[in-house]
């Protein structure tokens, strides 16, 4: 049987390499700091799409609350950066003084230390996912109910942050006045340095995710997407596997949250907005949830399109996006990457010696394809 090029591991890794080489070439051509910052922001969105692809595409866990990890981490990072602008003589961020707070709240104290602050920004959402995830998955909440529960949790956090005005500055959010200072240097968000940091972390998370999907763990996760009960009877602790993949996906979103604040020096409850979290799902859905790179490209295409085509016609753009998303769900459940898979499959089938994957009786007459990889 001629193999579909789409499933060829070497071809896949080659495409990933080409993609990242293209990204690496961007700073050589773009000198405008503003543009570079925008591209880096897209990289953050790509990371979010990647995280959605992992848990929804591979694990079948439709997470409509990925803003939880993204937002919590973003707040952690913003608090860290805010505290870099404070000192012992002036420990109170201006907005707290405006809200007539006299003392730094205890949960802001750890953020004096930059390293510790960033660690907290990553650990808190990760722990949240471990607890919330095991709560859901051990109760065998599944399918659409996970979507509703993550949505409810997201809304809950949104209202909480909005409500804690004196500690979070409510709807106005936190805007750290200076760029992140780390390892003895300032990370100017409009510099190539910032771009490379995002690039490196996107590369790292993508390669790690790709390897993960190819491992035995990844295979079990894909199996439980189809039939969790069957997987249970094979001896796997399904809730544990689901919690782990959900948490990994949350960790990636948390990294994205930190980077995002590093790039835009701002965070507000809008990062917990339901619409934003569902937008992440739309990126992955249109690009192709079963393909990590497909999801990444989906985010880049849609956010890029929004910036360049949509600025004047934002309403029309969103209308078209909604319509396009409906079409994709209806006709291309595997997104644009799935379309490519189909096309390559047809190409493979048209080659000689073909034997399409049609059901045949037992005892097939030829023994091609018994060995793999």
């Amino acid at each position: 049987m001629t193999k579909n090029l789409f499933h060829d591991k070497t071809a896949q890794w080659t495409i990933y390499a080409v993609f990242f080489l293209c990204l690496a070439a961007i700073p050589a051509f773009v000198s405008d700091g503003f543009l570079l910052n925008q591209f880096a922001t897209y990289g953050v969105y790509a990371m979010l799409a990647l995280s959605i692809s992992l848990c929804w595409g591979f694990g079948g866990i439709l997470n409509l609350g990925q803003g939880i990890a993204f937002g919590l981490a973003a707040y952690g990072m913003a608090m860290t950066m805010q505290m870099q602008s404070q000192d012992a003589s002036n420990p109170l961020p201006p907005f707290m003084a405006n809200n007539s707070l006299e003392q730094l709240p205890f949960f802001w104290e750890p953020f004096w230390n930059t390293g510790f602050g960033i660690v907290l920004a990553l650990v808190v959402p990760t722990l949240f996912y471990v607890i919330f995830g095991s709560l859901m998955f051990r109760a065998r909440v599944s399918g659409p109910f996970i979507a509703i529960m993550t949505l409810a949790m997201l809304s809950a956090l949104y209202t909480l942050i909005l409500d804690m005005q004196p500690y979070t500055n409510g709807v106005n959010g936190i805007s750290p006045p200076a760029a992140l200072h780390i390892f003895g240097t300032d990370i100017d968000p409009y510099s190539t340095k910032a771009y490379w940091i995002v690039f490196a972390l996107l590369l790292l998370t993508t390669v790690a995710s790709k390897l993960l999907t190819q491992s035995k763990f990844g295979l079990v996760v894909q199996a439980l997407r189809g039939d969790p009960e069957r997987v249970r009877f094979l001896g796997y602790n399904v809730a544990l596997y689901e919690t782990v993949i959900y948490t990994i996906s949350g960790l990636i979103a948390a990294i994205a949250g930190c980077l995002w604040v590093m790039l835009v020096q701002y965070v507000s409850p809008a990062q917990f907005d339901v619409t934003f979290s569902i937008t992440m799902v739309i990126w992955a859905g249109i690009g192709g949830r079963l393909s990590l790179l497909g999801a990444i490209l989906g985010a880049l295409m849609i956010q890029g399109g929004q910036s360049y085509l949509g600025d004047q016609f934002l309403n029309t753009w969103l209308l078209l996006l909604g319509g396009f998303f409906i079409l994709v769900v209806r006709f291309l459940p595997r997104g644009l990457a799935g379309l490519l898979e189909k096309v390559l499959g047809m190409v493979a089938d048209r080659q000689p010696r073909e034997s399409g994957p049609i059901a045949r009786p037992l005892a097939p007459h030829h023994a091609v394809g018994a060995s793999e990889k």
Binding site: I148, M153, V274
Partner: protein, 294 residues
């Protein structure tokens, strides 16, 4: 613990009933659609919004009295729901997650479509003078319109119960819910049942939207404010009518009591967290329907 006065508790309880009736009327269309058709309709909030806009248009441009706007919103939004069901939803009945996503796309399209047509500035639906006054119940003061909403919700629930438990159509719906194939073999057209139910659900949402147009301002984004609550009512209730009534009563009262002890926003946070914890122990809701065996 602050000293709680008897009066404020009664006040909170009555306010809770009012909140419950608002959440229930928002959720009832969703309940029918989810309970019968099994579709998680993310465009539900936009159906509400369309109902509000329908009332606004009919009232401002055609001078239709408010009380006639209610049935008119039902008809218009039911028609829109019908089109969406025929054009999209019916192809996705065996793909629950995809329906959820597709209806999200629908919601985006509806919201942006309305924004392009009517702009982003707020519109208003006005009500007759009599609704604008307040009524005193001992130490509690409530607007007449809120009482009207409560009564109207009760009437809608009663009507829906009648439709689903006392009519031939209702019997067909329940037959299809229990066993689609068996119902089909008795000559019930499941496709038609789904279609009609979806349209009725959409129409009920439209009618609720007409009320919300009065309670709040009419905006393209107004639906999103109600949709999460509506979902939680349905999920906590388990997708049945009686479940939704119980769930909205419970959540409405809790919201009101929490709000009395802290404030509205924090009360909502607490309520959502409680619901998530509740669902962990009863993932199928208050009134769970038994799961089919493998």
């Amino acid at each position: 613990m602050p000293h709680i006065e008897f009066a404020s508790v009664v006040n909170a309880l009555i306010l809770g009933l009012s909140i419950a009736s608002i959440w229930l009327i928002a959720a009832i269309g969703l309940t029918i659609i989810y309970g019968t058709v099994g579709v998680i309709n993310m465009a539900h909030g936009e159906f509400l919004m369309l109902g509000a806009y329908t009332s606004y248009v009919l009232q401002s441009f055609f001078g239709l009295p408010f009380l006639l706007c209610l049935p008119a919103s039902f008809i218009v939004v039911a028609a829109i729901g019908l089109v969406i069901e025929r054009g999209l939803i019916r192809y996705l009945y065996n793909r629950p997650l995809d329906t959820l996503l597709a209806t999200w796309g629908v919601s985006l399209v509806l919201m942006q479509g309305v924004r392009i047509l009517f702009g982003s500035d707020p519109k208003y639906v006005s009500v007759p003078e009599i609704f604008q006054s307040n009524v005193e119940f001992g130490f509690v003061s409530l607007s007449v319109f809120r009482i009207f909403v409560f009564g109207f919700t009760a009437a809608v629930v009663a009507g829906t119960v009648y439709l689903f438990y006392r009519t031939r159509f209702g019997m067909q719906v329940r037959a299809v819910m229990q066993n689609k194939e068996m119902a089909a073999s008795f000559g019930i057209n499941a496709d038609r049942v789904y279609m009609t139910t979806f349209a009725i659900g959409a129409g009920l949402a439209g009618m609720a939207g007409c009320l919300f147009g009065v309670l709040a301002i009419v905006l393209p984004t107004m639906g999103t404010a109600y949709v999460v609550q509506a979902f939680l009512v349905v999920v906590v209730g388990g997708g049945t009518l009686v479940g939704s009534v119980a769930a909205s009563g419970l959540t409405g009262e809790l919201q009101s009591i929490f709000a009395m002890l802290s404030n509205d926003t924090f009360a909502r946070f607490l309520l959502y967290v409680l619901i998530v914890v509740f669902l962990r122990f009863r993932p199928r809701g208050l009134f769970a329907v038994a799961k089919a065996r493998r």
